[in-house]
Symmetry: C2
Subunit: 418 residues, 2 copies
């Protein structure tokens, strides 16, 4: 007797997973180790930026009032009394008719309230002349014009990127409070699986899901423990799953989640007392994707079919992991694009099509990356995005507007076009 | 006397840099260490995928001809002679009226040419009956339907992502020939600079460019040697630049590239005999960006202003580094979006505006990320893209279509909307 499973919608499946995420704690790391981590506390401006009025150019600091009335026929002369390099401070205030040579980034001296650019001056003995009047504040970078002390700049839950690190450095965060990263366990199941180093044998294929998932984890900066490959043996599988759950924060398995005689994951979840959140999703590929929870730990039972496995990770495992770290924007970025090819095969389930997007004169075009069955490997390798085709009774035609989920920007553009 | 520099267009500057890239060699790495590396040789299918005809479902393998004429009133009976789990092989060919129970991924037995899904059968003693005829090849995943032996699948020069790794694993590439990665030297110059751990002092700011560039390098997987910070001292700077050029494959400096009295990089390039490719680019921010070449090594003289420094790295340094590894698509991915805010300030130079893009009901909107001067830090931290505004005499209005360069997808979407 075949078990009949009731499929749930993808959005419902995502919600069930996300509702079962348990956040990990926080830790404090040196700033240089925080790239890609999730901020556990907001970044608040510890002082104004710039911290003082400063010169945005190389030039001369003057009192604006001394330039009043300057014109081509009535040039105003200034005496240069010294020089202020960036990082240095003037030794005295300016007085009438005086100026300091001043460098980009240097603190504006007392009494000065404008900066004259070099090219606006004509040199004379001991100084320069001006042919136009300057206003108070002209060419001065004002204290606090970029950020004000006390301002909340970046919220907790944001992934730290290079710009975030510049901000943290600016305020002297030599150490940063970030979310702990989970360690993921990865176990591939299936008697048909060979190791990457093995020669092919009749009826067998090499395990591509394990290395692929390891790399999907690496892409989001997550460490993993690999539990290798298990043949379809219930008791051995159960033991290794138990061990993995003791040693890691979440477990990702591939294969063994369908309703076949050798699909042991459902039996393992049952014997462990794990609650199955769903075991059928209205999606292609990956409808057999199963997610269970045991205590604080999520068990992702991904399909053994490579395209389905890949998609299941990106749709469910990735946002769950990011959310474990408190990330507030854990889902793949979405854009809209024109479909680059007909996709005539209608399906009652939502389809996730491995595809490749690029910018063209007709806008963004996303084209299915070739052979697109659940078992396909080539299309995962060729794709840089996933086209989402809603369920329904009709196919999709070239040129239609479709949703596209971006997979990462490791691969860029071939030409510089701007 | 102020040196007058002649600006060149951004595209010309990019071209000059890219024309001076020297490729590094290759190395062979274990598959599990290749994420983010650049393929040094194409991936060619070593065998068909699937490597044999296999079952895409759990079901029964039959000879299609034995189902001929089957109907609701004339069900055809099949005797089940055994079971083929994935990874196993049938012990004998099928004969008339026989079938094997077969699992997903298992090799189709000899003489069988169709697979019947479980739900299409009615069990009887010793087997099952069918109510419809099957065609030759029905429900069979054909050998080579995904990839054909000898086919070139992925070209050299492609960055390895999780899908690429799945492909490499499939063909047994336990070791992979990839491009060597350069090591970058990073040196921040400026007497105004404090370390991240220092307390603020009058006229000084903390060095944010150094940590930011380190993170920009980390984002593309490149190791760096940090040469810390140098005060504006010509001979000390020259020595450290010499040392860095001996120890690294390219050098990134920040600050010291303008025409001020303390801008020593031009003098250092001259004393080293480096050829300056350009020292003025028609762009804002970062017009002072200077790139020089000495022997095989590029010297990136980025601005000391954080936004200019950030932009200079992404526009010039990043594609040069990727190209050193033979990457054939080294430029930031580009999309078009609607401008989310007026940007009225016209400029004779191309403007690169730190911005944030998101998908909305009105399409993709890219909005400038606040304070956008060359010296800004906040907008780098808040942005996830760069809007490119062409040079000209007019400003830009909200809703206009603009080019947007994507900076990475570390940050995703807050909601699951599909």
């Amino acid at each position: 007797m075949v078990e009949i499973r009731k499929p749930i919608q993808v959005a419902e499946a995502v919600e069930r997973v996300m509702n079962n995420v348990h956040k990990l704690g926080t830790e404090t790391l040196p700033l240089e180790d925080t790239y890609g981590r999730v901020l556990a506390a907001p970044i608040i401006a510890k002082h104004d930026v710039p911290p003082f009025d400063r010169s945005p150019y190389d030039g001369f600091a003057i009192r604006a009032e001394d330039s009043a009335g300057a014109s081509g026929t009535d040039r105003k002369a200034f005496h240069v009394i010294g020089e202020i390099g960036a990082g240095h401070v003037a030794d005295r205030p300016l007085e009438r008719g005086e100026s300091f040579r001043i460098m980009t980034g240097a603190l504006i001296p007392e009494q000065a309230d404008a900066v004259v650019m070099l090219e606006q001056t004509v040199e004379n003995e001991g100084g320069f002349t001006l042919r136009k009047p300057f206003e108070t504040g002209e060419n001065i970078s004002r204290q606090g014009e970029d950020m004000r002390q006390g301002e909340t700049l970046i919220e907790a839950g944001t992934i730290i990127h290079p710009g975030t690190i510049a901000l943290l450095a600016t305020f002297g965060y030599a150490e940063v409070c970030v979310a702990k990263r989970p360690i993921a366990g990865v176990l591939s199941t299936g008697t048909e699986l060979l190791r990457v180093t093995d020669e092919l044998e009749p009826g067998k294929i090499r395990n591509s899901n394990g290395p692929m998932i390891n790399a999907q984890l690496t892409r989001i900066g997550i460490d993993y423990k690999s539990y290798g490959m298990m043949e379809d043996d219930l008791s051995a599988c159960t033991e290794i799953v138990k061990k993995a759950l003791e040693e890691t924060d979440l477990l990702i398995t591939t294969g063994g989640v369908s309703v076949g005689d050798y699909d042991y994951l459902p039996k393992i979840y049952e014997s462990l007392g794990a609650e199955v959140l769903f075991n059928k999703v209205a999606m292609r590929p990956g409808s057999v994707t199963t997610v269970a929870v045991l205590g604080n730990k999520l068990l992702f039972g991904l399909s053994g079919n490579p395209s389905a496995c890949f998609t299941g990770f990106e749709l469910f495992t990735r946002p769950a992991i990011l959310s474990m770290m408190g990330c507030t924007a854990p889902y793949m970025p979405r854009i809209q694009a024109k479909l680059g090819d007909d996709f005539k095969k209608a399906n009652p389930f939502t389809r996730f099509v491995r595809a490749s997007w690029s910018m063209t004169n007709e806008g963004i075009i996303a084209t299915p990356a070739g052979f697109n069955k659940s078992s396909a490997v080539s299309s995962i390798a060729r794709g840089n995005c996933i086209i989402v085709l809603p369920s329904g009774t009709r196919g999709f035609e070239k040129g239609m507007s479709v949703d596209v989920l971006l997979l990462g920007t490791e691969q860029g553009a071939e030409c510089w076009e701007l």
